[in-house]
Amino acid sequence: MRRLAGLATAACLAAATSAGAAVPPVNPTDYPQLTDQEIGHIRHMVRLSRQLPGDWADMGTDIWAVAERTLQFQLSYMAVAVGLVQHSYTPAYRELYQPTMDQLIQKMTLPDVWELWINSSRAGTFRSRSGDLQAGWTDPVRKYNIMLKGYLLQAGAMYDMLYQDGKYEKPDAFTFRHIPITWGNGPITFRYSLPDVAKIVYDEYVASDFRGVQCEPNVVFPECNQTPILGLINFDQAHGTHYANDIMPKFKANWEKIGYTDPATKQNIDYYRVSTQERVGKIGPTGDGWANSWMFTWDPEHVQAVYPALRQLYLENFLTGAYARNLPPYGNRDLISTGFGQYAFMAAEVGDAEARTKLIAYADRNFSATWQDGEYYYKRSYDYAPDAAGNSHGVDTWTGNVLIALARLDTGGAFQSLYRHPWTKADLTDPYIADVDYPTTSVSQAWYDRAKQALVVTIEPGPVKAKETSFSVRQLKAGTRYLVLRDGTAIGHVGDGALTPKADGSVSIPVTLDGRHSYVVVADV
């Protein structure tokens, strides 16, 4: 349930206003706010981002589990989840989210993540029907492998849209180091910038005649052709290019012509075999949720058209535990829970509040929900077989670390909104908060309302106890007089007493960590 800060705040603010200050009414409940569980999800992702490169604790080392072996999916989904919270809940609090996003993105360039490509590039007969294994190639970006670079592009372009710091414009922004010992042609480094990746992806859409970029050679997965388009949307917004606009109508036409979606069942195919123009298999809830949650941003009509049939097909199966009655072989069991997680995320993004609520409740009841040191997540469990009540308790790390979190954070069209309302340079010049003591302090709300010239911040105790703390407010507009209110009660004007700005112009706001408190710093005009 979303937080309600209470009417008292508004009442107190009104009283303060009537006491002489000329400020507009500002009610924190009018702005998005994170729940305790959502804060817990973010804290978990922050911790995972801070593990040293190569430390995959709580993320995956089960090489047989698809959801763990393909770490780029967990990493990129966590990066965009963090980006979503940054954009939609706490835009005025960036010091936590920016490095977290960057660290998650940079992990995608580690060999543990991308070197799987070397084998994938060799294709073979399993899916591609391309004959015996080919020579393959090592470079993970040059051609194909949209299953890596599509996600790198999405997360990187979102970071670029949010922070505009030029970090990913550098030629070595994404550096892949290959250091073979017993084979190959010696150490080699592949360096790419975000514009390089965007251009390569766009060129591959063109080269495919807009049928989709291949994952391993000869194979196009519908789900992996969603995130690159979203990445290009953000990229175009920042760079003035028109990659996504060119791709979307042509890819949509091909989507229908090829039949990526079965017109009868509304399920997507498993994959498209390029050389023979074959549509192969049905993907099931993992792939349907995966593709449609992202496709909703750029082709909502399609997703709205297929969603009711998919709901009919999947939802009750999940809620009754029936989805886990027939367990697949060990190596694919994690796909049971990724199906749950992807479906939940899709339901959330399309705005199916009832399904979203029920699925999250199921997860909270059955998926080893864990509170640990302020983090909230679902710890990996292999207990997939349903219990006597029909509930499955198995959960993979992709679902447990981020997919359910996304379902919780996304109350409907959250990503659609993010891609339609990108930040501009002006967003980064507004007042914001910094110097938050992360172990002791959680920020559940940080929003600057430009129309009211009001910075709205809600602070609450973090997992480490402390009596007092403070945070800084930066980039207050010069020449403007600001009133500071705590829980709706004026505590003074900036410039007075304890609220005197420091040499760098920032103002330190003292906080008592005895509960949740809202702060409003508003222009007194």
Binding site: L52, P53, I63, D437, P439, V464
Partner: protein, 258 residues
């Protein structure tokens, strides 16, 4: 499906490695003749796999040396100031000529398990100081412990060793135990944290960037001035060995200088 190399693959791979290495570095001037002979008759290497194994060992040792040199250069160059007592918590003998670096986290089990042996080894070696690089990777409590410990050091260095020992060797860390350890060492947690936030932030940021620059993937790690690295939990004997190697390396450097 995972790739399972067969003996033949390994032989050929190692043979290629040996040939490449020989061409590049192993052969003395005039070795071209030997290289041509081997290239013309690769079966010779297949018939003498012990040569391939020895070449692979040489290549492995070279790689280790290269990595050690890279670490040593980093320690002596870009990162040198990070190990100065003004910028990082220290254990052992102040002003000792030899430097060891430990990357650690108060909530990491192998770090804690190694603590008694570290104390014993560094305590014995009177010519060693140890610079601590706290890299909290275990969540908010780990952040807190690292921030507080570093803050205590920057506030009053002499009390730090006792605090560090208590944090590493006390019971399962909780905030209460961490605060109590600080109090027992004469620090007030809230006061210290409020007063040292900025230098602590800079120090922790530097410690993490150094760990990443060195390619570390977890804690604990122990690095000698020679560039030799021990990763994971250690016994006193392992650390004694690292100290001895560091000492030898330092003596050799002195002799060269003399």
């Amino acid at each position: 499906m995972p790739f399972r190399p067969r003996r033949r693959d390994l032989l050929w791979a190692a043979g290629g490695l040996a040939l490449g290495a020989a061409a590049a570095r192993l052969l003395p001037p005039g070795g071209d003749e030997l290289l041509r002979a081997l290239a013309a008759n690769p079966a010779f290497l297949a018939d003498h796999p012990e040569l391939i194994e020895r070449a692979a060992a040489v290549e492995g040792a070279r790689r280790d040396d290269h990595e050690s040199a890279r670490r040593r250069d980093a320690m002596a160059g870009t990162w040198k100031s990070a190990f100065h007592p003004a910028y990082s918590p220290q254990l052992g003998t102040p002003d000792a000529p030899l430097l060891l670096i430990e990357f650690t986290d108060y909530l990491c089990a192998p770090c804690r398990a190694s603590a008694p042996d570290i104390d014993a080894s560094v305590g014995r070696a009177r010519d060693v100081r140890m610079a601590l690089m706290l890299v909290p990777v275990s969540g908010a409590l780990s952040d807190y412990a690292a921030q507080l410990a570093a803050g205590c050091y920057f506030t009053r260095p002499p009390g730090f060793a006792a605090l560090h020992a208590a944090l590493m060797r006390g019971g399962e860390p909780t905030q209460e135990r961490i605060d109590a350890a600080a109090a027992a060492a004469g620090y007030d947690a809230e006061t210290v944290r409020a007063a040292t936030a900025e230098p602590v932030r800079l120090y922790l940021d530097k410690a993490r960037r150094l760990a990443e620059a060195l390619g570390l993937s977890g804690v604990p790690d122990f690095l000698g001035e020679s560039g030799r690295l021990l990763t994971g939990g250690v016994s006193a004997a392992m650390l004694d060995d690292l100290i001895a190697h560091t000492r030898e390396d330092s003596n050799a450097k002195e002799n060269r200088r003399a």
